[in-house]
Structure formats: C-alpha cells, structure tokens
C-alpha cells in the first residue's frame, strides 16, 4: 500500500535508475562521488546520467509538461539524490530555486524558456547575494535602469552563487527603483545566451569546505542589456516573489539534510554490525545501542515534520511563511547534531578521508547557510510569535494535512503570503492533549502507554504555554524592538522544536496503517520525550525502557533490508557487494 505513496515510489524509481551506491563501478556510487569531492571536481558523469534518465523533469510543473506533480514528489526526489551526494542535489535544488519565481509569476514565454533549458539538462540559479550584504536583500546594489521603453541595463556583481557559471539562466534580484524599499526591487530572468558579448563576466569559483565540487561562483553584469519583458511578474515584485519562492525551497531543503543523514546512519550501521569489541557485538554496548536508537527516533521526528510541511504547501499555503522557516532552521541544525552523535559511534573512522562520513558532515553544513541562514529563519519566526501563540479555539486539523494516504489538492502559489496572520494548524493542535491519548486507546495500546501518551501531549501543551508567557513578558519589556532581541531568537528556536514535535505527533496520530510497527507508542514516546528535554520542559515522563530496544531492532531490520530510514521506508538499490 505504501508503494503508491510518492515518498516511496519516487525514491524507489530513482534508486533503480541510480544503481547500487556501494558498487564502485557506478557513477553514482559513494566511492566515485567521494573521489570527485577529493579533487574539488564537479561530478560531471553522475549529472550526465541524471539528465539522461530524465530526472530534471521533476523540477518542471506537471501543468507545463514536467514531472513536478506535488511537493511530496519533489521532497522525495531531493532526498533520494541527497542520499548519494549533496553537491549534485544542491546544484539541482539551485536550478529549481531559480525556476520557482518563473513558475509562480513568469510569462508563458519565460516558462517555456526555463522549462526547455531544464528539460535539456541546463542549469540555473536564483542570484540574490552580494559580497557586501548577504542576507540584507534591501541593501542590494545590482541595479537595472531604463534603456528606452522596452529595455533595461543591468549592472553589478552577484557573489557566492551556486551554478553561477555553469547555469544558463539566472533569476537576478536587482534594484529597479533607486530609492529601494520593499517595492524597489525586481527579479529579472537573464538568459546568458541572449546577452551581448562581454555583457557578463563570470566570477572565479570559490573553494568551499563542503560540496567541494560545486560551482560556487557568480557574475558581474556590465551594463547588460535585457528586455523589460525579462522582468518576472511586475516591476517592484522582486522582494515579495523572492520571499515566496524561498518558502518553497526552504521546505524542500529538509530533503538535503534528511537524505544525507540516511547515508551517514547507514554507514555507521555498516560499521557497527560488522564490529565486535570487548568480546561482543557493538550493538550490545549500551551506549552504542542508545546512540543509534535515539538518532533514529530524532531523524524520524524531523522526517514526519518534513513530510507534513511538503503537504502543507498544498493544504495550508497561507501558513508556510512560518512553517518553512521552522523547517529551514530546525532540520539542518538537528541533522548536524545527529551526525555529531553518530560520529562518536563511528569513532576514528569518521575522520578518515577514505570514508564518506566526513564528506557528509562537511556537505551537510552548507544547508543551514543558504536560502536564508539560521538567524534569518529564526527572525522570521520571532516576528510572528505573538500572533502564533495567542490562544484561539483550535479547529480540527484538516485531514489531508498529515494523512499521507489522502490526495493532495493542486499547489496554488497564489495562496502564499508573507505572514501567517496568526493562522497556524500544527502547534495549535497541542491545545487538545487528550487527542493523542484517545488515538492510543483506539489503537488498543496498553493502558500504561495510553497514560504516557497523555502525559507527553500534556507536557507539550505546557511547553507551548510557557513559550507564550515568555513571549508576552518579552514584548512587554521591549515593545516593538522585542523581535530583534536575543531572547526572541531563543524563543523562536524553542518554537521551532515544539512545532517539530507537534508535527511528529500529528503524523503519528493520522497514519496508523502506513506506519505499521511504528504506529505503536515506542517511536513517538522516545521522540517526544527527547524533544521535551531539548525544550528544557519540566517533569518529562521517561520512555518505557523497551522502547529503545524496539527502535534499535526496527532500525537494524531496515538496514538489513536496504530500506530507507524513514517513517515511509522506500526500497533502496540492492547492494551487490558488501561494504569494505
């Protein structure tokens, strides 16, 4: 039954095309991709294989003839690719980010141009940042001035742009009103092949700590002539369109981190199951067993949160300004933390450049930097804390939001907005802690487990109340300056973790059939109690001791079966050789 879910079918389809990741003869093998990374080389052969198998069509909306049926599909594809190599996955993601404004507000001609470029394997980019002011978009200096009635002249330099040189199309954020302000900027679709010679000078590639083969470069525009019709949407719509595009890409970024984490956990397990220490299997060492089961539980929590968010784009687009910031802040930093804990299990081997684990740790660190870094996303949340936490009658959660077997409505980009205006379906669900206990009882769980579910859900509700009190007190103290205070960032961080925990609980509540074994209380108890610890909540009920053993057994079974470490496990390409 789960085979028809995009989270499973998309991954399985791609895995069949990408082949055995452990077969050193394959262009998509970990070892070949590691070699490219060592040499700072772009993984050309692997990317050519992707193009040949038609993968780029997943970036093109189905309405324009592509394979982008839903954001569940794209999240799954991102994850499958990220399992193999983040350099490739991020390059694909950047082309998609450059295309999003065109999908949202582009003219038919612009949409035709970009879909043709992408379908043929060409790349693109959203060109936002400049060296003097990265996240401060309103300080942007690249500008476009009128040249007659039907043209513009584009000048200035965009810096640290992935695909900056390889990319054929650039969606360039440019100042179109010298006075600036929120309506002073436009996104301009630049087709490099349509520019005059010498209108653009590429910047040299910048070497980076991770995704070392990536084309991180940029472009200097020298009074480049572009048609007015190259403006995406209306003049002055640039900031609004960029922020809306980022709501989509930030949500999809979870796929980068979760995909990479899957490989990190898999290689850790390869090591653990093959190793005996002190006269017994490494899995029998309590510290190791605990580290693996808790890493798995945490990964599944953010898996559930990401799956919900991808559906959120379709079901509650109005809520995505906050939800995308939650995902973009929390998933990358949480995955980095999980990897650091797994590195301890791996021991010295994680540090060796002959292994893929160190590469993943370096690669994954980039995700919290782009498309709005940690601080930017926390600021977005902080600005809306008061309206988000204000007590309101909780409506029933729309069923299609977390129930993955429910069909999704088509995505409507016109429903995206730059603020939630207090509408929020996930954290609000915590106001009814009895719902989790009712579901546990309905599933026939033991009375002790039902009671524990109620305690955990109640603790989450108390944590929400504590956040509201801290927020109220902070705004009383600082007034309108409160959102910029360090305390506001701390509350926003806690809010994001609370949101993640609430998402996981909703996923658990709404998906009994597809969850199978994980529909019991073991996973959700461990995940929520750990989330509560992270929130420094008082009186956290400890999970049942058997829950950790259950999780480890489940994890080992997925590992033996070459299945993705997910709430919805997809079958991965079988290994034809044992790992060395």
């Amino acid at each position: 039954m789960t085979n028809s879910l995009p989270a499973v079918s998309v991954v399985e389809g791609m895995e069949r095309q990408l082949g055995d990741a452990f077969d050193a003869g394959s262009v998509f093998s970990f070892s070949q991709l590691l070699t490219h990374d060592e040499r700072d080389d772009y993984p050309e052969a692997a990317c050519a294989h992707l193009v040949a198998t038609g993968h780029p069509r997943v970036m093109i909306p189905a309405s324009l003839g592509g394979d982008l049926v839903s954001y569940e599909h794209l999240l799954a594809a991102t994850r499958a690719l990220s399992r193999r190599d983040l350099t490739i996955a991020v390059a694909v993601g950047q082309s998609f980010l450059g295309a999003i404004p065109v999908w949202l507000r582009g003219s038919p001609e612009q949409q035709r141009l970009v879909s043709t470029i992408i379908a043929e394997g060409g790349q693109g980019a959203l060109a936002l940042t400049e060296e003097a002011h990265g996240s401060d978009l309103l300080a942007c200096e690249v500008h476009a001035t009128r040249d007659g009635d039907d043209a513009l002249r584009l000048s200035g330099t965009k810096w640290l742009i992935n695909n900056g040189t390889r990319g054929r199309f650039l969606s360039v954020f440019a100042r179109t009103d010298p006075a600036g302000g929120p309506r002073g900027f436009s996104l301009i679709l630049v087709d490099k092949q349509a520019l005059d010679a010498d209108a653009l000078v590429p910047l040299a590639r910048t070497p980076t700590h991770g995704i070392r083969g990536a084309d991180i470069s940029g472009a200097t525009f020298l009074d480049a002539r572009v048609l007015r019709s190259a403006i995406i949407g209306r003049e002055g719509e640039g900031l609004e369109l960029t922020l809306k595009a980022l709501q989509i890409s930030r949500t999809m970024c979870a796929g980068f981190s979760l995909g990479a984490a899957d490989t990190a956990l898999r290689t850790t397990l390869d090591f653990v199951v093959s190793r005996d220490l002190y006269g017994r299997s490494l899995t029998a060492v309590p510290l190791v067993a605990r580290a693996l089961s808790t890493a798995f539980a945490d990964l599944l929590l953010w898996d559930g949160a990401a799956l919900g968010a991808a559906r959120g784009l379709h079901v509650v687009p109005l809520e995505m300004s906050v939800w995308s910031a939650v995902i973009k802040y929390a998933v990358p930093v949480e995955v980095e933390r999980i990897l650091r804990e797994l590195a301890v299990v791996h021991g010295a081997r994680h540090y060796l450049r002959t292994g893929v684990f160190q590469k993943i740790m370096r690669d994954v660190a980039v995700v919290s930097l782009f498309d709005g870094n940690t601080a930017v996303n926390l600021q977005s949340i902080a600005l809306q804390l008061r309206s988000l936490l204000a007590a309101r009658a909780a409506p029933d959660i729309p069923a299609p939001l977390f129930r993955v077997t429910d069909p999704l409505p088509p995505f409507d980009g016109g429903q995206l907005d730059l603020g939630n205006a207090g509408t929020e379906s996930v954290v609000r669900s915590l106001d009814s802690p009895e719902a989790a206990a009712d579901e546990a009882r309905r599933r026939g769980l033991m009375p002790a487990a039902v009671d524990r579910m109620f305690e955990l859900a109640s603790a989450l509700a108390s944590a929400k109340k504590a956040l509201l009190e801290r927020t109220t007190e902070l705004w009383e103290r600082y007034g309108r300056r409160a959102h910029a205070s360090p305390e506001a960032f701390a509350i926003a961080s806690d809010y994001a973790r609370l949101h993640g925990a609430a998402s996981a609980l909703l996923f658990w509540r709404c998906n009994e059939r597809v969850l199978g074994e994980l529909a019991g209380s073991e996973w959700i108890e461990v995940a929520i109690s750990r989330a509560l610890l992270g929130l420094h909540a008082v009186a956290v009920p400890p999970p049942d001791s058997g829950a950790y053993d259950f999780l480890l057994t489940h994890l080992l079974r997925l590992h033996r079966g070459d299945l993705m470490f997910s709430l919805l496990p997809a079958r991965l390409a079988s290994r034809t050789r044992l790992p060395s």
Partner: protein, 83 residues
C-alpha cells in the same frame, strides 16, 4: 466582514504607533512613511498580524508595503475586502 470606518482604522494605527514610539498620538504624523517610525519591511509582518487580528480579516504584509502611511493604509483597508 463589514468595512470599518477609515477614521477608526486611522485612530487604531495612531494609537499603535504612539505606544510603540513611546510618544503621544498628537506627535504621530499620519502622512509620514512607516519607515520614518522605524517600521521596516520585515516588521510590517508583525503590524499586519496585529492589525488583521483587530480588523477580523487577514491583512497581508504587502498591503503595508503598498500603502505605507497611516492615512493611505486606513483609507485602503476601509474599502470592502481591502486586505
């Protein structure tokens, strides 16, 4: 949703800014751009949430960008479906 009187909205905004700026309503210039009050484009998100809460209808932050004085915003929002 019945439209509010523009004067009501204007007064709500005057009081909100006076309180935020720790000054009196008389000192608040209804024709000055919001940026003069230190309300930048991202802080518009907060104002739009508070305003929408009071009005009982969603106010997009972009509306504040497009009508960037108290006077303009009040007049715009007082029209039916002015969000």
């Amino acid at each position: 949703m019945t439209p509010r009187d523009p004067m009501e909205i204007r007064n709500w905004l005057m009081v909100a800014f006076a309180s935020a700026l720790k000054t009196t309503v008389e000192e608040v210039d209804a024709n000055a751009p919001f940026v003069n009050f230190g309300l930048d484009s991202i802080a518009a998100v907060e104002l739009s949430a508070d305003l929408g809460d009071w009005l009982g209808q969603r106010v997009s932050p972009t509306v504040i960008w497009d009508y960037p004085t108290i006077e303009q915003l009040a007049r715009h929002l007082s029209t039916v479906g002015g969000a």
